[in-house]
Amino acid sequence: MLALLVAQNIAFYIIAALMVVGAIRVVTTKNVMHAALWLVLVLSGAAAQYILLAAEFVAITQVLVYLGAIIVLFLFGIMLTRAKTGNDDDLDNKKSAKFIGAGIGIALLGLMGYSLIDGFGDTEFGDLMVQRTAEVSDSIFSTYLLPFEVLSVLLLAALIGAIVIARRD
């Protein structure tokens, strides 16, 4: 059991490090295409973390929806807006804006880090049980049925909205 936990921890830290690096590259790289590819790394890292958390269904959905659909959408967006291939120096705001952003980000991180460590100091997971897809589906289709239906309407609305906004007329 212990060995397994250690293995999990090691996996977690490796993946987490990759994700953080990937995320930083997403917001700093000078190549739009690279940003999308780094985003792939972060999103698949998140999927891996879900597996560590024994949440298989979300992991699979993450891969299918994010990696399969959203990234493709982004790539299309990049292509359709004729982004420069190679490096582009015009991706970021002015230096001052970057500093303000960094300041806010770091302040937020400090605040959140402080409260998280303060609040959940050494809370450990018990023995993680696999959260079976059947349980998820039972939950969605009983307790959360109404939000689910509302969500489907939202998706429809977004679909129509996207078409209406983007079409040429």
Partner: protein, 726 residues
């Protein structure tokens, strides 16, 4: 006899199938086959409906008793899923309660109760709550079935000629089928959710058919107006369905359950009141009650048969039907019969008057009829509001036929006069179109309420109901009713004389319409003559028919189950005489004024007051201006302008104003006080304010990301305060 009452779902399903077939194959198979499919399906539906009505009459004559009745009651109320008992236990309990006589206490049923036939299937289940789909058949539903099917059938036949050669012939027939299916679905609904679905479906069909000739902007505008005005009321309906659901214990949407729960006195009265008011909002729009009636006259932009079917006989009475169906809810919610303010009756009565007045200034024949429909719908709502349930529903029944006859007659006239409905271009048509003229005359007299035509009986019942209703005093409703009786006769007389008498003023060569058009007219006129006798009063000026011939309509249609105890006004001779005299007077006045040209002509040009009144009517009480100009206008243009104004004047203005104001004050102080002492300080503060203003103005950059950084920074500060301080 064939027992259709259990399988009544077949009727709307058949029309739905007809819709799909016409939709998918209509174009390929040609117009003749299309019309044939439509007519054949409606005919079958009509036959089946008659069978259902026969079944129902049979059931009233031989009501179920004992265990069978108890089982019916359990099924009708849909109680089992909530209590968790099995049906047989419920049946046992119900039978035990009552012994051989029936459950008098628990279900509001008495010895003579004939529960409706309810057949349901489970639709879906959420968290122990079961949603059902089903059919409910009682006298009211059977009556509506027959009405809808007959008129739909005649309109189907009539349209083959009226829309001959139309580009969207199949589209039209598909919509007619869909409409009929939805309307039948609506009247057979066993729960309010289903009613809501049917209600919206008929609304969609109405939209599609009003805009049938969408090439003209006017028609699409009318369709949109109808749709949007109905949306306003539909919000009320949706809210009402939800609220009444919770008012009735939150366990079922079943209409019988709602009625029975509302009448049992267990329901929360406030919820019930709010729910009933919301539902009435739906009625207001769908049935063209004041102040949401404005869409109905515009809806006349659709083809005339559609106006006859949808906007006169069936769809617009959906609201009246809703009140009749959920009468328990309305009765206890709005305290019909005990309250001092009769909301429903008042709105209905008010609508009859304003609709009747508006009909006078119309030159378009169809619009006269449209306002007349509004007025008559107000009559029905008023009847239901004063507790004269049977009278209201009976008027719905008779009105459907003679108003459909009038509309189809108007269509026949227009067919002859090159599709114009302008009465100024008609006149003298009685010799050229004898059949149309005769049927139109009969329907006009029926609408005016001349003995012995159908309108006389139903209108008279409403007046009697207002005169001796629940608490013997609905004086104001009675006055409304009598005034409208006069107005109805007068404006119909005007329309009749302008159209059929005098000299022909148009340029076409009118001729009698072919049989396809006149035969439906004759059938409808026949109905307008005989149908009044279906509710022949028990005693008519002392003349008594055997019991099995009088008040048949009341006997078979009025529910006896989950229905409030309402009084039945007897036939009132003086009212009948008074209303007949008023109607005859109205016709006479119209004859004198419009045909003989007697009376104060040119009053509107001589008298300012009369002219103002005429303009007021011609502008439809300025309601449309109120809706589009004031309400819609104030929420679009002015809102944007207000936002811009606040940006310009409040944000900039505050900032600049502070600076300028400070400078002005400084100037005043400079002039008034000794400039030597405070000169420097004043100038400094003025400049300082302006500088601050200029600085603050920079925040309003329009750049999203700067706003976002302010947002996030604010969030950080707030979170910091929450974490460290609080």
């Amino acid at each position: 006899m064939l027992n259709m009452i259990d399988k009544v779902w077949i009727i709307p399903a058949l029309m739905a199938v007809s819709f799909l077939v016409i939709l998918f194959f209509g174009k390929r198979w040609g117009t003749k086959v299309t019309a044939g499919i439509g007519i054949a399906s409606v005919s079958i539906c009509l036959i089946l409906s008659v069978v259902v009505a026969g079944n129902w009459i049979n059931r009233v004559n031989n009501p179920p008793t004992g265990t069978a009745l108890a089982a019916e009651i359990v099924q009708a109320n849909g109680l089992t899923p909530q209590t968790g008992q099995t049906i047989s236990e419920e049946v046992n309990a119900a039978t035990k309660d009552s012994g051989e006589t029936v459950a008098t206490d628990s279900y509001g049923a008495s010895d003579e109760s004939v529960p409706p036939v309810v057949r349901t299937v489970t639709w879906f289940q959420i968290g122990g709550l079961q949603f059902e789909m089903g059919t409910l058949v009682d006298g009211l539903a059977a009556m509506m079935l027959i009405t809808v099917c007959i008129i739909s059938l005649l309109v189907h036949i009539y349209s083959t000629e009226y829309l001959r050669g139309d580009v969207r012939f199949t589209h039209y027939y598909a919509f007619l089928s869909l409409f009929t299916a939805s309307m039948l679905f609506y009247v057979l609904s066993s729960n309010t959710l289903q009613m809501l679905m049917g209600w919206e479906l008929v609304g969609v069909c109405s939209f599609g058919l009003i805009g049938h000739w969408w090439e003209e902007k006017k028609n699409t505008d009318a369709a949109l107006k109808a749709f949007l005005t109905n949306r306003v009321g539909d919000i009320g309906l949706i809210l009402g369905v939800i609220i009444t659901f919770f008012a009735a214990g939150g366990s079922s949407f079943n209409v019988l359950h709602l009625n029975e729960y509302a009448l049992s006195g267990n329901a929360n009265t406030t919820l019930l009141l709010v729910g009933a008011l919301c539902l009435f909002g739906g009625v207001t729009s769908k049935s063209g009650q004041f102040p949401l009636h404005t869409w109905l006259p515009d809806a006349m932009a659709g083809p005339t048969p559609v106006s006859a079917l949808i906007h006169a006989a069936t769809m617009v009475v959906a609201g009246v039907y809703l009140i009749a169906r959920l009468y328990g809810v309305f009765f206890s919610g709005l305290a019909i019969g005990s309250s001092t303010f009769h909301y429903v009756a008042f709105i209905g009565g008010f609508t009859t008057i304003i609709g009747g007045l508006l009909a006078f200034v119309q030159t378009d024949l169809k619009k006269v009829l449209a306002y007349s429909t509004i007025s008559q719908l107000g009559y029905m709502v008023m009847a239901l509001g004063v507790g004269a349930w049977t009278a209201g529903v009976f008027h719905l029944f008779t009105h459907a036929f003679f108003k459909a006859c009038l509309f189809l007659g108007a269509g026949s006239v227009a067919h002859a006069c090159h599709h114009t409905f302008d009465m100024r271009e008609m006149g003298g048509l009685r010799k050229k179109m004898p059949v149309t003229h005769a049927t139109f005359l009969i329907a006009t007299l029926a609408l005016a309420g001349i003995f012995p035509l159908a309108g006389f009986w139903s209108k008279d019942e409403i007046l009697a109901g207002s005169a001796n209703g629940q608490e013997n005093a609905y004086t104001i409703m009675l006055i409304f009713g009598l005034i409208t009786a006069f107005l109805t006769a007068a404006y119909m007389g005007r329309a009749y004389w302008m159209t059929f008498w005098g000299k022909y003023r148009g340029h076409a060569h009118p001729h009698e319409s072919p049989r396809v058009i006149t035969v439906p007219l004759i059938i409808l006129a026949g109905c307008a003559v005989v149908l009044g006798f279906t509710n022949f009063p028990k005693s008519f000026f002392g003349f008594k028919l055997p019991g099995s011939f009088t008040t048949r309509f009341e006997h078979f249609v009025e529910p006896t189950f989950a229905f409030p105890p309402i009084a039945h006004a007897p036939f009132t001779p003086w009212l009948a005489i008074a209303s007949t005299i008023l109607a005859a007077g109205g016709l006479f006045v119209a004859y004198q004024y419009y045909e003989k040209n007697r009376g104060p002509h040119g009053l509107t040009s001589r008298s300012k007051i009369a002219h103002a009144g005429y303009t007021f009517l011609e502008n439809k009480y300025y309601l449309d201006n109120l809706y589009t100009g004031v309400i819609a206008g104030s929420t679009t243009g002015p809102l944007a302008r207000a936002a811009n104004w606040s940006n310009q004047n409040i944000i900039d203005g505050a900032v600049n104003g502070i600076g300028n104001g400070a400078r002005k004050i400084a100037g005043v102080v400079y002039a008034v006080a000794d400039q030597i002492i405070i000169d420097g300080a004043v100038n400094g503060s003025g400049q300082g304010s302006e500088g601050a203003g200029q600085l603050l103005r920079k925040i309003q950059t329009g750049k999203v990301q700067q706003y976002a950084s302010i947002l996030f920074a604010g969030a950080v500060v707030l979170a910091g305060v929450l974490v460290f301080v609080v």
